[in-house]
């Protein structure tokens, strides 16, 4: 019975979003209602913050940001999806709702280039300092952009200044 209630509650209170249910309840929202939806879910006792990441869809020139949440009271998972254009990917940060979004948002910025407004310290986390690309975009080759035949000598200027890999 609780399942039906949750689905109904969501359908009634979020009229602007598309809601469906597969292995978990999936909510699709637009950029403007993203933060309000997540605030509403936090009030509905979705307290365990699981994941935040993104996918790049070059066919429609969009980046999709996905948030996974878990409720320890209702024992239900939920997924929130939001699409942003790839030229200017900006979204509000959910750091004030769940502190766990800290490093996940930094990683999404690093890998895909999505900027989160309101995040205290948005900088690169996994790639080396000085890296300028966003690796998980579909136009970045997985072997990287460094020519493989080149061997590096330690007196090479680029190595000393910490930028030898590009």
């Amino acid at each position: 019975m609780k399942e039906k209630d949750l689905f109904q509650i969501l359908k009634e209170s979020l009229p602007h979003a598309e809601i469906e249910e597969r292995e978990m309840i999936i909510i699709k929202v637009g950029k403007e209602k993203y933060l309000d939806t997540l605030k509403f879910l936090k009030d509905l006792k979705f307290d365990l913050f699981i994941d935040l990441f993104g996918t790049h869809y070059p066919a429609t020139k969009e980046i999709e940001v996905i948030v996974h949440l878990y409720s320890t009271y209702r024992i239900k998972r939920i997924r929130v999806k939001c699409r942003v254009p790839e030229d200017n990917p900006v979204l509000p940060s959910v750091y004030n709702l769940w502190k766990g979004a800290d490093w996940f948002e930094r990683e999404t910025y690093d890998m895909l280039g999505v900027r989160f407004e309101g995040h205290p310290d948005l900088k690169r986390i996994l790639t080396p300092p000085g890296f300028e690309d966003h690796p998980l975009r579909k136009d970045f080759p997985f072997r990287g952009k460094i020519p493989r035949k080149e061997k590096y000598h330690p007196d090479d200027k680029r190595f000393i200044e910490g930028e030898f890999w590009f």
């Binding site: 292995e23 307290d47 913050f49 699981i50 320890t72 769940w98 766990g100 986390i125 790639t127 997985f142």
Partner: protein
């Protein structure tokens, strides 16, 4: 922490760098200390980032399996099982009971191995050297059992969608009996493990020095732990009874009778106690599994994933076509996206895969448990001393391969 910050007199910045005896993995901690008390701490990771998610977009599903077992390399089978059960739950493939029981045995042995690797070096940093030797002797026994089944000690790539590998060295063709040697080794291991655990508990649990070093250090209250995204033994030590094996049972865990230990305070001592108790509960599961091993095949006969028997391949045209397709084009995962998680040794390990109908995934995302746990580290160590920082770092069990992928 940036170069523009003002430093009062008496403050120092100490860099516990990527190459340090007590960092179990490669990550850097930059601490600002006054005297010996930590005022602020900043963490830098990414020294083992290999780009696994990007790499997996160019590989077939069968080729991704060895990538997954290099994530949490201390308990490699658990990562494999996470990936394989995700595919099975999506494609709705039934796995025969015998294969599930063997998977449970290997899974729990890996979990024991992971907890031993966490506790052993953790107490070495605090100053107790003997448990390290006892535990690593037991780990060698686990390696022998896993090597007997899968052929490799550390990086197995063993379970596959639908059961276990069909062409196992003992199981050539259609024979599927398990030799008596396996059962003897597992039971022998359970006996020696029990005596090792009792020895180490006697050495450490009531030890005055150990209690003073670890009680009240690195406390994490339950609500903050949930906010940060903690799962696994660290969350259970903070008081939340949350285990995916009980909440969302997968892979026949509902057949076994075991308990989930929950701590009280959320400090380092509780994390140690929760892990020790989990080792005992895992031993209980292994014993129940090996006592009640059912009969049956070791691999499903679902035509989407399973090779046809050789007689059919050589005599009928359908068998030949099926064999050809499975070898050349690998399994075909239908279009769609899905996310399924298992309870790995550190917490919730989840796989999110977007499939576009070709043999390669469009997006392969791994939800690492250590990532969420380690981001709370600056909160845990405020106000502690450097020696306490080392104790806390060992107790949250960071594996750099999982952190950076």
């Amino acid at each position: 922490m940036s170069s523009g910050s003002e430093m009062k007199e008496g403050r120092m910045i100490i860099n516990i760098g990527p190459s340090h005896p007590s960092t179990h993995g490669a990550f850097r901690m930059i601490t600002e200390i006054e005297g010996e008390v930590i005022i602020n701490c900043e963490v830098e990771i990414g020294y083992v980032h290999r780009g696994v998610e990007k790499f997996a977009e160019n590989l077939k599903y069968r080729q991704i399996l060895p990538l997954t077992d290099r994530l949490n390399y201390v308990s490699a089978i658990m990562n494999n099982i996470g990936y394989v059960t995700a595919l099975e739950r999506y494609m709705k493939i039934d796995v025969p009971k015998k294969a599930q029981y063997i998977r449970v045995i290997l899974n729990e042995l890996s979990r024991i191995s992971d907890h031993l690797t966490c506790i052993g070096p953790n107490v070495v940093d605090i100053g107790a050297l003997t448990p390290f030797w006892y535990f690593f002797r037991e780990r060698e026994r686990i390696y022998e059992i896993i090597e007997m089944w899968t052929g490799a000690r550390l990086t197995t790539s063993y379970p596959w969608v639908g059961g276990l590998w069909r062409d196992h060295p003992w199981i050539g063709g259609f024979k599927e009996e398990i030799p008596a040697e396996f059962e003897k080794k597992v039971r022998g291991f359970l006996k020696t493990m029990k005596s090792a655990i009792d020895d180490v508990e006697g050495l450490l649990t009531g030890n005055r020095i150990f209690i003073e070093r670890t009680k009240g250090i690195g406390v994490m209250p339950a609500e903050k732990a949930l906010e940060y995204g903690w799962t696994g033994p660290c969350l259970r030590a903070s008081g939340v009874a949350w285990d995916l094996r009980k909440v969302e049972p997968y892979m026949c865990y509902e057949d076994f009778d075991f308990e989930v230990p929950v701590g009280e305070n959320g400090d380092t001592y509780d994390r140690y106690l929760v892990r020790m108790e989990e080792i005992r509960q895992s031993m209980r599961i292994v014993e129940q599994a090996i006592d009640g091993l059912p009969e049956g095949p070791l691999m499903t006969s679902d035509p989407r994933v399973c090779f046809p028997p050789k007689k059919e391949v050589y005599s009928t045209i359908e068998g030949l076509i099926r064999q050809f397709e499975l070898v050349m084009y690998d399994i075909q995962v239908p279009e769609g996206e899905f996310y399924y998680a298992v309870e790995a040794a550190n917490g919730e390990l989840g796989f999110y895969i977007v499939s576009d109908g070709t043999g390669k995934p469009y997006r392969f995302r791994i939800r690492p448990p250590c990532f969420a746990i380690y981001q709370a580290f600056p909160y845990l160590v405020k106000g502690l001393k450097i020696a306490d920082l080392i104790a806390v770092l060992g107790s949250i069990n960071i594996i750099a391969g999982e952190l950076d992928r």
